[in-house]
Subunit: 333 residues, 2 copies
């Protein structure tokens, strides 16, 4: 309980506080014998550096912020795992912020991050207003966008090509012979949903079909339950030959509703999802999906961020755009 400080360590090891600070931060600069003595003192006294004092004096912290839209979504969980792994390898702590889709909550979280003077922020923005992020940069906090294209050139961003993903998914359905396709989507306020839709229409056009014939069923949330409901609507209206869902949760819901209604997948209706979450492969009719390099997204974004922090002059901003990959399984066989 007796808060042991660098001074206590110094006294115990018979050196000056500056030397203790050196063994902590620049161990090469201190004679091996001294270093060992200091390290022994640190162990004996159970000294732990006071991060705030260090941050205050040094002018920067060893902390980054991660702001995601929904920590309950396996997609973001995997991103977070990638972030956490890289950060922890490099001795950085991660402060987690969950915006839950609310721009207000996101703003509050960003404020907390700014107060902590985090070194940088990884964010999948909820809103489309870049000004809020520019404010962070005003505090010397670097920002890297995750699963979102860059707002500006002097900024890193790591994204996945959602238009290409939508195109590939629907092209796959059409290649199987389907001539009528429905797109079950989440709210069309979500950029990803819109772009996947664009891609889907492009694929229709490329196959000589009218893009306007794509049946779009918009669900309120991107959950399995919403998918079941959407499927019920489709059944009522008359089923298409194939269904493309904006994520796997929706697709699992659709799959379940179809099977219960006696519709065979893929014989009667082919089905493809998006994200390739673990459960896609594990469902009873295994689900075709568009795989995204989710964990890599987190890893690379973090590497870019920490490089930007470590080498502000030489750092080259990058806009990385991954291509999603088709994973064909039973549901489109």
């Amino acid at each position: 309980m007796a808060m042991v400080s660098i001074k206590d360590v110094a006294a115990h090891a018979g050196v000056s506080p500056g030397t203790v600070s050196n063994v902590l931060n620049r161990p090469g600069k201190v004679a091996p014998a001294t270093r060992e003595r200091v390290e022994a003192a640190i162990d004996e006294l159970g000294f732990v550096r006071h991060g705030s004092a260090s941050t205050l004096r040094a002018g920067h912290s060893r902390t980054i912020g991660l702001s995601v839209i929904d920590i309950g979504n396996p997609f973001f969980t995997e991103v977070a795992a990638g972030v956490e792994d890289v950060a922890s390898e490099l001795g950085y702590a991660v402060i987690l912020g969950n915006s839950a889709g609310s721009v207000d909550k996101e703003d509050r979280n960003l404020r907390v991050l700014a107060e902590h003077r985090v070194r940088g922020v990884l964010i999948t923005p909820s809103g489309e207003d870049p000004a809020r992020l520019d404010r962070l940069r005003g505090h010397g906090i670097s920002v890297v966008l995750v699963d979102h294209p860059a707002h500006r050139p002097d900024q890193c961003a790591v994204a996945v090509d959602d238009v290409a993903g939508g195109r590939a998914a629907v092209a796959h359905l059409l290649a199987r012979g389907a001539r009528s396709v429905a797109y079950v989507t989440g709210p069309l306020t979500i950029r990803q949903c819109v772009e996947r839709c664009e891609g889907a229409k492009a694929a229709m056009g490329a196959a000589g079909l009218d893009p306007g014939d794509l049946v779009v069923a918009e669900a309120a949330t991107m959950t399995a339950r919403a998918g079941e409901k959407a499927a019920a609507d489709l059944i009522a209206k008359g089923l298409p030959e194939a269904v493309f869902c904006a994520n796997d949760l929706l697709a699992l819901g659709v799959l379940r509703a179809l099977l219960r209604s006696g519709v065979r997948v893929p014989e009667d209706v082919a089905l493809i999802g998006y994200d390739d979450i673990d459960f896609a492969a594990a469902s009873t009719v295994s689900l075709s999906s568009m795989r995204q390099p989710t964990y890599q997204l987190g890893r690379i974004a973090t590497e870019l961020l920490l490089d930007e922090c470590a080498n502000p002059e030489t750092h080259a901003h990058q806009h990385i755009m991954f291509q999603p990959e088709l994973v064909a399984r039973e549901s489109t066989q």
Copy 2:
């Protein structure tokens, strides 16, 4: 970029730095007119308090740590959501640590948390060595155990009764008429797996069966893939009438393997999982499971922790033990 400090705000508003600090921390103590002037200055200058300086001087931060075993597991994700919600309501930031089941990594994470002088730590411990946690207490950091019984009386803990859960799950299977039961479990180094097993055996005994007849199939990980493999082994050895899985991921794997082998669920084999993750309800044969108040676990643990921080003298340590709840679905109908 020009780091605006409390001093700049003071100068701009024509008051002293102490007054600015007062409007930040004790707004009641300052005259309304002055307060407004200061607040205007804060807005105009875009001032954001330097959290590290504040922490250093005040002696405590507004940050808590959360250390979980696997952020990829929906169970922990939901816990994290509960933690994040409460923390954010009270203006606390959450530093996330993922131990990935490694005691070493957990130790590293705890060290980072100690350096940050977090106010407290919420942890689902990987190892069973309480000494490591006691070291945190030595730095004045409160610890609340999550999904784990308390190590000591002067400590809060929030857990779920895993023995009762195992008992209820198997009792449910036996009540359906099953007379032979297999338990598909994760590594038996995991406390939860062991206790659910104990519960399962207790239920056998209570039904007049020999607890030693419980067939225990231990999988290397708690994933769907491991569940499939375990099911293949069971099929090879001869199927029991019912299967209890230590979590839903295992159960989904078992379900898939059984259906593919032409085994009907629940007609030929009844199946129950544990955790009641979203996908349990969404699987093709919907999965019976033991529901745990996961989100509440996170919320309540955080509330206890922050109460302990806010009222160290009056705070009463609590050991809360939730009871899991049986959710019967098609797989045990």
